[in-house]
């Protein structure tokens, strides 16, 4: 049985540092780091305008859905995807085999700038995630901490 992956306060601060620097340089609105199952690992930027959890689930699906398309032209997968809107756009790039970075941006910047800075940001995020602790992080709960009452009530 593997331990639960854990983001300590320091891990989150380190990730925020990388993502904040990226957003500033790229002049984007929001960036979210997710695993390929759609779970949010870290997020930075203006989160008031959208539900990040839903963006993550859909982006993971979108990224995976194009894998077969990539395969048809002899690629293992596309490293990056770009969805262009009228005013707001989404750029997604692969961090590593398990992780994707999503960037939402508007009219203040261009896809070229976002793409340029996202490459180094993804590298830095990847390095931080590799060093994440699994277990032994001080948080534990046992069966008696879990209520016997229904988790969800009808």
């Amino acid at each position: 049985m593997n331990a639960i992956p854990c983001l300590t306060i320091q891990d989150v601060a380190n990730l925020d540092g990388v993502l904040g620097d990226f957003l500033k340089k790229a002049e984007a609105e929001l960036t979210v780091v997710i695993d390929r199952g759609g779970n949010v690992i870290s997020q930075f930027g203006d989160m008031t305008v959208m539900d990040v959890t839903i963006i993550a689930a859909l982006a993971a699906g979108s990224f995976a859905a194009t894998k077969e398309l990539a395969r048809r032209i002899g690629e293992i997968e596309f490293n990056a995807l770009y969805h262009q809107g009228n005013g707001n756009h989404i750029f997604m790039n692969s961090v590593d085999d398990d992780t994707i970075m999503i960037t939402v941006f508007g009219r203040r910047t261009t896809v070229g700038l976002v793409r340029f800075y996202s490459a180094s940001a993804a590298q830095n995020v990847g390095a931080l995630l590799k060093a994440l602790s699994n277990g032994g992080h001080g948080f534990s709960f046992d069966a008696s901490d879990v209520t016997a009452a229904p988790v969800f009530a009808d």
Binding site: P5, A148, A149
Partner: protein, 223 residues
């Protein structure tokens, strides 16, 4: 894959509703979305065809109990049941923490139930997960219809294993036992992860799944 986040004080879990086409997976999610307090849920996202068949997946994020100051967040997904969409099912199963297998109780659906369950085992195996390791419950759905197989028969074809799992008889169209199924798998999940939390990376031991958790209530409340 569950993740503990100290900064936001959250623990995330992913639960997938699996089963043959038209067995009621999306109906389960629709009922939960309708009944749960809007403060504790996000939008129900449904990627369906014009005929309301699930094309990609349905998705519903929920906030649940607080454990030691950490909010548990459950992300509910359904898979498309149609046989041809196996690649999509594999994608949705990625990083799964728990499964609710929804079986259609009608006699003519037995073969599809068995095929779908086998497909679940195969797709989990592709992620190096054994069905015996993952928390899951069986929901025998559509118990209100006339041409249904008895529960004993469903148990024989779907739960005839060394270690039997919890089963729930449901009618997802009316909501009967929809929450019972979700609560059953959530409790098993939380108990499993209570054993895993703070465990060193190298530790390994077989997973034991409590079927009827009955621990005293300490912290947290139903939402």
């Amino acid at each position: 894959m569950s993740i503990i986040n100290y900064a936001s004080r959250e623990i995330q879990f992913k639960i997938v509703y699996y089963g043959p086409a038209l067995c009621g997976k999306t109906t389960n999610l629709g009922y939960i979305h309708k009944r749960i307090n809007p403060e504790n849920r996000g939008d129900l996202v449904s990627l369906a065809t014009a005929a309301d068949r699930t094309l990609f997946f349905d998705f519903l994020p929920l906030n649940a109990v607080v454990i030691k100051g950490f909010v548990t967040k459950f992300q509910l997904y359904t898979v498309p049941g149609q046989v041809i969409y196996n690649a999509t099912r594999q994608l949705v199963l990625r990083s799964v923490d728990g499964v609710i297998f929804v079986a259609d109780s009608q006699w003519e659906k037995m073969e599809e139930n068995v095929e779908s369950f086998k497909n679940l085992e195969d797709n989990l195996a592709k992620q190096n997960i054994s069905i015996d390791e993952i928390p899951y419950v069986l929901q025998y759905n559509k118990r209100d219809l006339e041409n249904i197989a008895p529960v004993n028969y469903l148990e024989y074809v779907l739960n005839n294993r060394k270690k039997r799992v919890q089963r729930v008889e449901g009618v997802s169209s009316t909501g009967q036992n929809v929450f019972a199924s979700l609560n059953a798998v959530s409790q098993i999940l939380l108990h499993k992860f209570s054993k895993q939390s703070d465990m060193p990376k190298t530790a390994s031991s077989p997973v034991a799944l409590p079927v009827e958790p009955s621990m005293p209530r300490k912290e947290g409340a139903a939402v």
